[in-house]
Amino acid sequence: MNPALQAVVTIVVGVGGCIGYFWLSNFILDTVIFPASGPRAGRNINRANMVRPWLFLFPALVALGLYLAYPVVATFLLSLHDDGTFVGFANYAQMMSEDKFWESIGNNILWLLFVPAASTAFGLLTAQLTDRIGWGNVAKSLIFMPMAISFVGASVIWKLIYDARPAGQEQIGILNAIYLWFGGDQPMTWLTIPFWNSFFLMAVLIWIQAGFAMVILSAALRGIPEETIEAAVLDGANPFQVFFKIKMPQIMGTIVVVWTTITIVVLKVFDIVLAMTNGQWETQVLANYMYDKFFRAFDTGVGSASAMVIMLLVMPILVWNVYNARKEMR
């Protein structure tokens, strides 16, 4: 079948199926199983209302269970097996003996330290600046824009910036052009300089995420009660004191949310590294290491083990989020 036609059929079947399922199951519940009439109408209504939430939830629960919860367990089991035989933690041991794994961990730590911090800082700075000027909304739009660009698209965009031509030729990468203009002696191939090249990759993600941080923090800044700021100004606080001593503490909660959200993005970052260096020149990160193991080395055991490492790193944030959500529910 033509894929486009298949897509249309899927939409119709999907939407129609959903509505049909909900309508039919509610109809059966209300008229066939527990009819709201006859001698036991009251009891039937109560019973129907106890069952109904589960009818509404059923498709979502199946999808969530199958596509997100089950894979966590399955991946853990796969990480304990090698070609179907149980090997205990041998895959983990093998993974830990690989230099590439430790390189990935090292880089991931760098990414985790640097990207959320830089994105949040840029976000805070731009939020604070754009809130004070007339064309602030236009500025916000433009800084927010990279959010809509795919990681692969962003990689192409930044690869042009980092482009290097042999010495003597006209440089077409703006970074090298600026570097030479400021007196650099020869063009650098930025992405092949170990250690520093990771930062050039991080710049791409910071460029994308700063807009996200800005939007959220700007809303938080606007939510700060005016009186607190006015009081501080009357007491003679300068703008920097107002910002760091009055505003920052009041939006700390939001900063934490932004920081953790970007942290999660960083842990999963894959496309940028794949597209720009593919982990060469010591830029490997966990998610790309895992992809290498799964789909290039076809080593499901070690691949699953590295996926579990990512899960383990996400775990503290998961627990923290759930804890906060439960606190809010009460």
Binding site: P3, Q6, A7, T10, I11, G14, C18, F22, W23, N26, D30, P53, W54, F56, L57, A60, A63, L64, Y67, A74, T75, L78, F122, L125, I133, A139, S141, L142, I143, M145, M147, A148, I149, S150, F151, V152, G153, V156, I157, L160, I161, E170, I172, A177, W207, V215, E230, T254, K268, F270, D271, Y291, F294, F295, S304, V314, L318, N321, V322, A325
Partner: protein
């Protein structure tokens, strides 16, 4: 606030200027690629995109003089123009590869056998000799020309319709559309029903389910790849569109349920309870009241999911094949980066085809996007 501080003007200028710098820094990368996508390959490799508006000096590939000779008094002449089109200006030229810039435009060079060659600024030349040229090798001209800026849509024409790296971007564009539309629509409905139950129905275990959804929000989908691929193979759908639609639906659900529940909880209680008292069934309440009222939240999620499915690479690499009628834009772009890494005219225009739709969606629906972000994070 700045009024109170009393130092308005100085500080305000600093704010304007630093904002402008940041905005330029943020827009510059995309703008550079956009400009490059309209330039020819030669232009891109000869000068940076920031010089695109200036004229640039290039060395024209050697041109061998040709043309019909005309007999004049005392000799023979061949006249003509080096370039088929006008617009180029010759500055320096030469007749051997060792000295390509030996003469200025307008000068006359004495060559062997009494030949004399003159090349003018506009590229016109005159070659004269005392004898007929019939059996002589005519000289080659190495010219350095100044070419005015030139922008065209040719790159886009090339990438959209001709198969580079095995597949045209036009085809990949259609594939991406095929992936993202159902993958955006299906989860919305499934999530909306679940969100309604979690927001407005009382049943044991509700709080636990909400917590579970919050937890699943951050589960890395990296874990899901292999088990789900095995599962898809086991139920017989293998790699293909059906598989990727299901996968995107599953991965999108936690955010959808979370956003929609947060929104629905805030809907006025009276409306729902009045409807219940009036004897409306839950299904009717949902379809006629909740769904229309939740439109802003539905729109926010739809934008998120659309951007995410359109821009995704990993899920497409795993759950779709790499054949012509399945590979998506991001996959195609990664292939191009590998195989045509130096052809910036192709890369730039391909990248722009792939980011055009998300950018349009972004600028058109920014309001909903921001609203969704705030509902998802600040709450």
């Amino acid at each position: 606030m700045s009024l109170i501080s009393g130092r308005k003007s100085g500080l305000t200028w600093a704010v304007h200027i630093s904002t402008l710098c940041l905005v330029l820094l943020w827009v510059m990368p995309t703008f550079g690629l956009l400009v490059s996508s309209f330039r020819t390959g030669d232009q891109i490799s000869n000068s940076g995109w920031w010089q695109a508006l200036g004229t640039q000096e290039t060395r024209v590939p050697p041109i061998r003089i040709s043309g019909d000779e005309v007999e004049t008094d005392g000799g023979f002449t061949i006249a003509g123009n080096l370039f088929g089109v006008d617009g180029s200006n010759v500055t320096l030229w030469g007749t051997s590869s060792q000295a390509t810039q030996a003469y200025e435009a307008g000068q006359t060079a004495d060559l062997s056998d009494g030949m004399k060659l003159t090349v003018m600024v506009d590229g016109s030349f005159a070659l004269t000799a005392p004898d007929s040229f019939s059996d002589k090798r005519l000289p080659r001209v190495f010219a350095t020309a100044v070419i005015p800026p030139e922008f065209s849509l040719d790159n886009y024409r090339t990438v959209l319709f001709s198969p580079l790296a095995g597949q045209s971007i036009g085809q990949a564009f259609l594939n991406t559309l095929t992936v993202s539309i159902p993958a955006t629509i299906i989860p919305i409905l499934v999530a909306a029903f679940a969100a309604y139950a979690l927001a407005w129905m009382r049943f044991p275990g509700r709080a636990l389910l909400v917590a579970a959804v919050v937890g699943l929000l951050v589960v890395p989908l990296q874990l899901a790849l292999i088990p789900l691929l095995q599962f898809h193979n086991w139920i017989g759908i293998g790699k293909g569109y059906l598989g990727i639609w299901l996968a995107h639906t599953g991965f999108g659900l936690p955010l959808a349920i979370y956003l929609l529940r947060n929104y629905m909880v805030g809907l006025p209680k009276d409306i729902i309870e009045n409807a219940r008292v009036d004897g409306a069934t839950e299904f009717q309440i949902f379809m006629k009241i909740i769904l229309p009222l939740s439109f802003p939240a539905l729109a926010s999620f739809a934008i998120f999911q659309f951007l995410w499915t359109w821009n995704d690479l990993l899920v497409a690499l795993v759950f779709l094949g790499t054949s012509n009628d399945q590979q998506v834009l991001t996959g195609n772009l990664v292939n191009l980066m590998g195989s045509r890494g130096g052809d910036w005219e192709i890369l730039a225009s391909s990248a722009f085809v792939s980011i055009a739709v998300p950018l349009i969606v972004f600028f058109a629906m920014q309001k909903y996007l921001v609203r969704g972000l705030l509902a998802g994070s600040v709450k």
